[in-house]
Amino acid sequence: MELTYSPAEQAFRTEVRDWIRENLPPALAAKVRGGKRLSKADYELWHARLQTRNWLAWHWPVEHGGPGWTPVQKHIFDEEMIAAGAPRIIPFGVNMLGPVLIEFGTEAQKARWLPRILDGSDWWCQGYSEPGAGSDLASLRTRAVRQGDHYVVNGQKTWTTLGHHANMMFCLARTDPDAKPQEGISFLLIDMASPGIEVRPIVTLDGEHEVNEVWLTDVKVPAKNLVGEENRGWTCAKYLLGFERTGIAGVAFSKAALSHLKRVARERRKDGRPLAENPFFAARMARLEIDLMAMDIFNLRMIAAAAQGKSPGPEASLLKIKGTEVRQEASDLIRRALGPYAMPFLPEALDEGWNGEPVGPDYANTAATQYFNLRKTSIYGGSNEIQKNIYAKLALDL
């Protein structure tokens, strides 16, 4: 057993860290760290920078232009990106559609779409979830009917993250209504400029707009935009679910949150002493830190297993559950630490270029909204309840 990184891995970490320092604009990192709104241009800039180094499509196989990293390298890259305050890579094109096309796409599809993912020509969004379907993809109701050389699609998608930025959507639609629920689904690529598409914003409980509803009314989709076989779209969707998910536990996010929490608890005071010295608060922080230390090792155990060629098992479900719980707990403590100053909320302070005076400490404004926003992490990507069902069935044989 060896818990430390090899010299080569440490050198890789240095390389990544140095490159980020040189390439990530400090103003952009400050926006990420301050919880400000990021524009489409912010993401596009960062994607393009990464692509200059060939680090955008780091999940892709070498033969399609991926850097060929080991699981440990991927983990290190992920940690460094988050620690540096880099914007996240928008996953829909590069991390989700890319691998599906590489596995199931025709040569023509690969030739057309993969380069456009890398050079930023397309902004993809994901059309999986539907109102009323929740975590139950098999009850999908969007219909696609083949008419000559195209499909006609009708239905409604929801929780479409950054769909208002997207010009393309990959989408699951039912092509055989008589088949069993999980069969008869197809995987389609849809131009968001097609007539009959309407994107409606969903304002979330924190007052922000990041997700959308997408309404499809008699939308024509060329048949050549079918990925994989007709009625076998479930295979593509499942492939993605089983795809190696580095960072599923969000350890790097939680580490960043913990170190922010420690700073807040040193600065805020309770009974005339730093809050960090209050025994109850210190206990809450210490329990969190211990949970996180353990989860870090748990995560590394999975990565080391992947590095030995083991495919990711149902333990990914456990990591997802614990990862979201720990991250939510960290945000809860940050909110708590602020005391009354968790109350004020100035939405205008999230805007780029806002130069007003904060109310209370400068980090207070987003503490509570961040706590509420993170409730989503245990709901999406397969809710924690679904993860428990999966693990009970696959790993515990119950």
């Binding site: 929740g134 929801t158 969903i202 304002v203 005071r269 009354p340 004020p344 409730r375």
Partner: protein
């Protein structure tokens, strides 16, 4: 041993329920919250007219209630209705020192909803401590106040401010405190209002030699501060129970009707058990509030200990109920247009007002030692 309501109190509850049902739906509430004052003055006047503010004031001061039980009943309805009108700020925290100081005219105006009072007590460097007051009051050409107050609920819309200030002693000393009446629009008062996460409003207020009038004897104000905050704690704990009830009912409705994998969500045993645990904890929280309300007129230690217990427990249970209600709903509870998350937000943020669950646990322990001593 009797947990039933008197006829008068049953009518009070029904009055509030009817008003909220008929006049205070979610769009109305959101509209009120988005108004410049953070609430609707006309609705506030109507609520006053119905006696909902007067119910918080004892008959000898011109109201027709004022007992712990009255406060709890009104605020449970405030919670159920997700009311943004200033029941806490003006109806309790602002009003009670006026009642105790015998400010008959002002009490009447506040009770009528015509004058808005706010309680300016917490300070930028403070954190829930009752005596954490650095703001100074000095007597010369009348009393004048200098200092800064933080997160003053409805402080921006207030007409009068009840300000805690120190006439002597170190920061944190219980001795040497006083409460003062300051005209909100008067000289030496600078206010910066803002919205809060849960849809209410508050203000940062700076006093610079602001003219003030003492309420009670300056220097001996701690007992009244504690008493006023205690009423506020009871109000918040009761409001929390009202919010929990709505969270529970909404979640139950959702589980009964929403289908997944071909069955209603409520048919899944894991979710059933979690709902039972939620209901059980709500009953515990409700019981703690009943205890605090029912002993609100008892001796100080009993009252303060039961208040601390109620605030601690509603804080602990409140977080659980809010988080579970969102989680059991799934995505829809993350949307602004659905009512539930607004209840959940308020329920969580109550823990940031007048002392959080840890603060009141410490207070409960400390009061227990006083009791034993």
């Amino acid at each position: 041993m009797d947990f039933t309501l008197s006829e008068e109190r049953r009518m009070l509850v029904e009055t509030a329920q009817r008003f909220l049902r008929d006049r205070y739906d979610m769009p109305t509430r959101h509209k009120a919250a988005a108004a410049p004052d953070g609430f609707d003055r006309a609705l506030w006047a109507d609520m006053a007219e119905l006696g909902l503010i007067g119910a918080l004031v004892p008959p000898e001061a011109g109201g027709f209630g004022g007992a712990g039980e009255d406060v709890a009943l009104v605020f449970e309805q405030v919670g159920r209705g997700l009311v943004v009108e200033p029941f806490l700020a003006s109806g309790v925290l602002g009003l009670w020192p006026l009642v105790r100081a015998g400010e008959t005219a002002l009490v009447e105006q506040v009770m009528a909803g015509e004058t808005i009072a706010a309680f300016a007590h917490g300070e930028p460097d403070g954190r829930y401590g009752l005596a954490e007051v650095s703001t100074r009051a000095a007597e010369g050409d009348g009393w004048r106040i200098t200092g800064a107050k933080a997160v003053v609920l409805n402080g921006d819309a207030a007409d009068v401010l009840i300000v805690s200030a120190r006439v002597s002693g170190d920061a944190d000393a219980e001795d040497g405190l006083g409460l003062f009446l300051v005209e909100a629009a008067g000289p030496g008062v600078t206010r910066r209002g803002y919205g809060t996460v849960d849809g209410a409003r508050a203000a940062e207020i700076v006093f610079d030699e602001a003219p003030a009038r003492p309420l009670g004897e300056p220097g001996r104000g701690f007992a009244l501060i504690e008493e006023t905050m205690g009423r506020g704690v009871l109000a918040l704990a009761a409001e929390a129970v009202g919010l929990m009830e709505v969270c529970k009912d909404t979640t139950l409705d959702y589980l009964r009707t929403r289908k997944q994998f071909g069955r209603p969500l409520g048919a899944f045993q894991a979710l059933q058990h979690r709902m039972v645990e939620m209901v059980l904890e709500i009953e515990q929280a409700r019981s703690a509030v009943m205890l605090a309300a029912g002993t609100f007129e008892a001796d100080r230690l009993t009252r303060e200990r039961n208040l601390a217990a109620a605030k601690h427990l509603t804080g602990r249970v409140g977080r659980m109920v809010a988080e579970e209600a969102i989680q059991l709903h799934g995505g829809i509870a993350m949307t602004w247009e659905y009512p539930l998350p607004h209840y959940a937000k308020r329920l969580v943020m109550l823990d940031h007002l007048l002392g959080d669950t840890d603060h009141h646990l410490e207070r409960f322990i400390r009061l227990g030692r006083e009791d034993a001593a």
